[in-house]
């Protein structure tokens, strides 16, 4: 049994690219493979000639011919039926493999024997073989896969599992790979990412890589169906839809059938700040925006306020007028400690889910709680964050990452509509941490990790919380379609005390370089996913 069966359905590719594809397989430094090709009724005469010639020259080629064109799913399944290898490698008829592709995949699979799915980074090549647009990907991010087929090429799947899930399914032509990867990863024990460009996706007139949505409009409908089918199988209560502007970006709209109680915990000092021309009491504005805009039926608001009830009588009355019976006020008459304040609020709350919210935010998306609960209810989810904008509309938070020595906000200060590297800010993504300014977490998880650490009274308590959550095996996610305004002054000093820095390093070590969602090729002095200069021969400057 060979290690790899490369599966390639073929339909009328130009002769030079067909030959280039075959040559890239032949040039593999790793030799334990077979190549299963099925010609799906090509009408161009060169196809049969090239395949027959290649089959004579290379005994590891298995070629099948369909009399009539049956579509990519039928041809892929026929090629899959020829496969005898331990793993299936998907290769399109006009693309190329890097010469080390199979060797590196073999090494990675040998290092992780329980891996059932492996994917690599990829780039694009034009007709002349010039390289561009490298896609340096994050490690396994199941949330991202629901809104973008980011694993795409090169995909290597355990053959037995592919057969177990029924191979390629009819009805998903154009998104058949995505549908298959969904079904395989739903059962996969481990998913492995090799952060190297080992696959070259050809941009040709008429190909998706070359022309985007215009080339295969049906593929986007098929992709939407594939996401929906995945959601229906896995209990994600949502409806999938395609982004109106960005090709390959999808959204989930919650369709919850249950509305568990959410406790919104807001620590506050009751301060006011000038926002625009007005002097606004921050917590009052936050609670008003919650009450006015939230469509989720089941929530309570727990405000943890500095001082005693008596000292906050006016504020309590004001909040009570706005939030009525949903409001609970908890006094906090101790020296400042943000983490303790949050913990006290959570202990006084009743919800199955806890939402930590800063007092200087304003809800924008009416379905914000539905959205966050939709994610929080997924098995293995530990914390969910939102997209936060500064008052002037720029990005404040779309996830936290380790680029430099300390964690930082990705794309902080960029324009609010900045889509980021390969549309990162528009996608549901996994991160090592999200901001505590708006963080939804199951109460059971909050209890299990001991809430926010009182040893981090001001900074990094949210990062530490998320790292604790991850250390217990839970995921942390960001939802791009949950939007709030965060009136944090963009000029706020991000000074961190030595004690806070030391605690974080003692607990979690030197995470830079080990953030699974930051590809090692990115510039490490930034968390903004800045790729290196990529030369047309596929090398990095």
């Amino acid at each position: 049994m060979p290690r790899f069966s490369i599966v390639t359905p073929i339909h009328d590719p130009p002769e030079p690219v067909l030959r280039a594809m075959l040559a890239s397989v032949g040039a593999q430094g790793f030799g334990d493979w077979e190549h299963c090709l099925v010609d799906d009724g090509s009408t161009a005469p060169h196809v049969r000639a090239v395949l027959d010639e290649a089959a004579v020259a290379e005994p590891r080629l298995q070629v099948g011919h369909r009399v009539a064109n049956g579509g990519i799913v039928a041809a892929s399944n026929e090629a899959l039926a020829l496969a005898t290898g331990e793993f299936v490698v998907l290769l399109d008829h006009d693309d190329e493999l890097h010469p080390d592709a199979l060797r590196r995949a073999d090494e990675a699979l040998a290092a992780t024997p329980e891996a059932d799915y492996l994917y690599t980074d990829e780039d694009r090549i034009d007709e002349a073989g010039r390289h561009s647009s490298p896609f340096f990907k994050p490690d396994w991010s199941p949330e991202r896969l629901r809104t973008q087929m980011y694993t795409a090429h090169m995909s290597v799947l355990r053959t037995a599992l592919v057969r177990e899930v029924g191979g390629f399914h009819e009805g998903f032509d154009g998104a058949q790979d995505w549908d298959l990867v969904f079904r395989v990863t739903e059962r996969a024990r481990t998913v492995v990412h090799v952060p190297e460009v080992l696959y070259h996706w050809r941009t040709l007139p008429g190909s998706t890589a070359g022309e985007g949505a215009g080339a295969k409009p049906w593929a986007y409908d098929a992709a939407t169906r594939a996401i929906q089918a995945h959601c229906d199988r896995t209990g994600v209560r949502a409806v999938a839809s395609r982004d109106a502007t960005y090709d390959g970006v999808y959204h989930l709209t919650p369709r919850l059938d249950e509305h568990p109680l959410v406790s919104i915990v807001i620590p506050t000092a009751g301060r006011s700040r000038e926002i625009g021309p007005d002097l606004v009491r921050l917590v009052t504005q936050a609670v008003a925006s919650i009450v006015e805009r939230t469509t989720y039926p089941s929530y309570e608001v727990v405000v943890v306020v500095d001082g005693t009830f008596e000292a906050n009588g006016e504020l309590v009355d004001e909040l009570r007028t706005i939030a009525g019976d949903r409001l609970a006020v908890v006094p906090f008459a101790r020296p400042f400690n943000f983490s303790q304040k949050c913990n006290v609020g959570v202990l006084a709350s009743r919800g199955e889910y806890v939402l930590l919210l800063n007092d200087d935010v304003e809800v924008v998306t009416p379905s914000w709680l539905e959205r966050l609960v939709m994610y929080a209810r997924l098995p293995g989810m530990g914390a969910v964050g939102a997209k936060l904008l500064f008052g002037d509309g720029r990005l404040q938070h779309v996830g936290l990452a380790f680029g430099g020595p300390m964690p930082a906000h990705v794309y902080r200060g960029y324009p609010g509509d900045h889509e980021g590297y390969f549309c990162t800010t528009l996608l549901a993504c996994n991160y090592v941490a999200v901001t505590g300014a708006c963080l939804l977490t199951p109460r059971a998880v909050y209890d299990a990790v001991g809430g926010l650490s009182p040893r981090l009274p001001l900074n990094f308590n949210d990062v530490d919380y998320c790292l604790k959550v991850r250390s217990l095996g839970h995921r942390v996610a960001y939802d791009p379609d949950t939007v709030l305004v965060h009136y944090e002054a963009s000029s706020r000093s991000l000074t961190v005390s030595d004690g806070e820095r030391e605690l974080l390093l003692d607990r979690w070590g030197l995470l830079p370089g080990h953030d699974p969602y930051v590809n090692p090729h990115f510039n490490r002095s930034s968390v903004d996913f800045v790729p290196p200069v990529y030369l047309s021969d596929g090398s990095v400057a």
Partner: protein, 114 residues
């Protein structure tokens, strides 16, 4: 207050006593309840603090183990390199080359002296 003398008097006055007793009991229970509520909250915070400490210590231990393995790996690599260098210096070919290079070194030393 005079002692009730008749059954009827007793029937009228007893509920008042009972009410007063019950009121006192409710006040005491309320105080207890508030004390227990505070105690409960304090215990809840303490449990969170301890869980944070446990998870944090586990993380520290993991980090320390990782760092230890990393440093041990470095030490092993240095030792291998030192052994290899030693092997090279002890090899016959190195000694021959060193001997063969002696005249050149002498010339260099002289030219430096001048």
């Amino acid at each position: 207050m005079p002692e009730p003398t008749s059954t009827a008097d007793q029937a009228v006055l007893a509920p008042d006593d009972e009410m007063a007793r019950l009121r006192a009991e409710v006040a005491r229970l309320r105080a207890d309840n508030e004390r227990l509520r505070i105690e409960h909250a304090t215990l809840g915070e303490e449990i969170l603090r301890l869980r944070d400490a446990v998870v944090g210590r586990d993380a520290e231990l993991g980090t320390a183990r990782g760092r230890l393995a990393e440093l041990e790996g470095l030490v092993t690599r240095y030792e291998h390199a030192a052994h290899r260098l030693d092997d090279v210096l002890q090899s016959r070919s190195w000694k021959l080359m060193w001997a063969a290079g002696a005249p050149v070194r002498k010339v260099r030393e002289r030219s430096k002296g001048e």
